[in-house]
Amino acid sequence: MDKLIEMLQQLVNGVSLGSIYALIALGYTMVYGVLRFINFAHGDIYMLGAYAGFLLAPIFAHTFKFGEFDTFTPQNTLFILSGAGLIMILSMAICAAIGVLIERIAYRPLRERPRLNVLITAIGVSLFLQNITQYRLGADPKAFPQLIPVHVVEGLGNLTILTSQLAIIIATIILLIILRFVVMKTKIGLAMRALSLNPTACSIMGVNNDVVISFTFALGSALAAAAGILVSMDSPSINPLMGNLPGIKAFVAAVLGGIGNIPGAALGGLIIGILETFVVAIGFPQWRDGIAFAVLIVILLFKPTGILGRVEREKV
């Protein structure tokens, strides 16, 4: 029975980790879908989301009494959630704006150029974001303020799930539902899907490609920012380089699920999260980061289109 509980425990750990990867992977996959380009700087948007929360929280700390509650009670739950939610939404908005700005300044001028150029620019943007944050805010880890009380969820017996993990999972599900709605049921979502199929036909049909692309960047960046806030609620230590590894792992997740495929990204994220947790659980913590790369290599060798991806025919 103990073993079963422990396995369930690790599963929960894996799912909450995977949710973070899923949120970041969605940004990669959406941008790739419309632009056929991997936004190297995406992982750093996640980092900026965390820092946005770090800088915003003190402003609202008094109103929402961050850090003053010890546990969730039926009375204070709504209040706490609205405070945390506000920070998250503000941070998402800021990062969406940053994402659009980056696209406008660094990627749009290069749209007609060889893809290699824009990849290099993306690397430049990524390094710039990391180092300017390091320079202005310090390279040392900062303590992320406590937005929600973090404690073990009551009533689950021996199963230790934390409120922060639950928050991650629930928030991810909500965001995924919203995303699905936007992509499937709105006009701009339709435009995004059309753009990923054929950009030229799209503009012929009267779609303003630039606006749709900006919107895609905004959406992806907002999700990454949400991931940044959620993960910081769970592990309240942020540093300027925190986007590196999760960024790469999320990219692997996007490829695993089929790059360009939105449900694929979410699935890929979950799989990578669970795999990573189990690699550590069976006793190889030093290979935790390597497993993502190993998955990448295997997938690219055997099924480069990913689990849910479609084979793309290259026309010459």
């Binding site: 430049g124 390094l127 030093q286 190993a294």
Partner: protein, 339 residues
């Protein structure tokens, strides 16, 4: 003997003489500049070899530091364990034949091992294109680094002390000359045609019956060999290596040089290597003078901020780098090397 082989021998002789006559003088009295010179040499080798892959063949590799690491650790372990054997043969470690033999063997071993690794990494990865290849090579670079970090007899996180600082001007610049010779020879041969074809239009190349994978792998293996040699030179100069010194940022350093120099121009890349090796030291000197207000000194010293801005600005304004594809150099040297 063909003319280029003659030039090679001549250049090697020059390196040998400079080293023979001037080495001790420079190393003792100008140790700082000596350090910069050797670093320049190492960076030129790294950059010109990467240029073969990124520039001429158009394959974006972000894992060059991984092969440098293999070269560095291979030569370090080799020297640490097998030097006594070599010294046994040459009669003691005091004489120059002994140290030079040790260095040569060590470098050769490093290059071969790195080349094997290049083959192992290249064959599966080079099927991929563009962004995927970049990430996979990045991944392999990290895997190599993590593997070293977890290997105790290579020092793991403690780092590895290297027995014998054999690197000198001859070996460094001799290797530079050799690397340039090999790269330029390849480029001006049918292999070079193959590389350029793969870069320009891979699908057309395949359609014409050219085995694109072969050319890609050849470029990759040659580049890895020299990255390994550069690693060996580095290890025997710094005398202490850690896995952290070969991380992604090191790869980025080399990539920036290649891009600045203009992908596809060996001389351009070499000049860029010189510039970007001197740049941090010049900035260091600048920081000590009074020209820059205190508030911005940190910005100057923060090399990566400058590099990242350089990358972005270059790509937006002058993607062919400072020297483009080298035609300007051809005009200057007054000779066209087109057959």
């Amino acid at each position: 003997m063909s003319r280029s082989l003659l030039s090679l021998t001549f250049a090697l002789l020059i390196c040998a003489s400079i080293s023979f006559f001037g080495e001790n003088f420079i190393a003792s009295n100008f140790a700082y500049y000596y350090d910069i010179l050797i670093s320049i040499g190492v960076n030129i080798i790294l950059a010109t070899s990467l240029n073969l892959v990124n520039g001429y063949t158009g394959q974006f590799s972000l894992g060059h530091a991984g092969f440098m690491a293999i070269g560095a650790y291979a030569s370090a372990s080799w020297s640490n364990h097998l030097d006594p054997v070599i010294f046994g043969i040459t009669g003691g470690s005091g004489n120059p034949i002994a140290t030079n033999a040790a260095m040569f063997v060590s470098m050769f071993f490093a290059g071969i091992l790195a080349a094997i690794a290049g083959f192992a990494v290249g064959v599966p990865s080079l099927r991929l294109k563009g962004d995927y290849l970049a990430i996979v090579t990045l991944g392999f670079g990290e895997i190599i680094r993590v593997a070293i970090l977890n290997t105790d007899f290579l020092g793991a996180s403690r780092g590895l002390s290297v027995a014998g600082t054999y690197t000198n001007l001859f070996w460094t610049f001799g290797s530079v000359v050799l690397c340039a010779y090999v790269v330029l020879s390849l480029v001006h041969s049918t292999y070079g045609r193959g590389f350029l074809t793969v870069r320009d239009d891979e699908v057309a190349a395949e359609a014409m019956g050219i085995n694109t994978t072969k050319y890609k792998v050849v470029a990759f293996v040659v580049a890895s060999f020299f990255a390994g040699v550069a690693g060996a030179l580095y290890a025997h100069f710094k005398a202490f290596i850690t896995p952290e010194g070969f991380n992604f940022f090191r790869s980025v350093d080399v990539v920036v040089i290649v891009i600045l120099g203009g992908m596809g121009s060996t001389i351009g890349v070499a000049v860029a290597a010189v510039l970007l090796t001197i740049l941090p030291e010049a900035l260091r000197a600048l920081a000590h003078t009074q020209f820059v207000p205190q508030a911005y000194q940190g910005l100057l010293e923060n090399r990566l901020i400058l590099y990242s801005l350089l990358l972005i600005v270059l790509m937006l304004t002058r993607p062919q780098g400072l020297f483009g594809d080298g035609t300007a150099f051809k005009k200057w040297f007054g000779r066209s090397r087109v057959n």
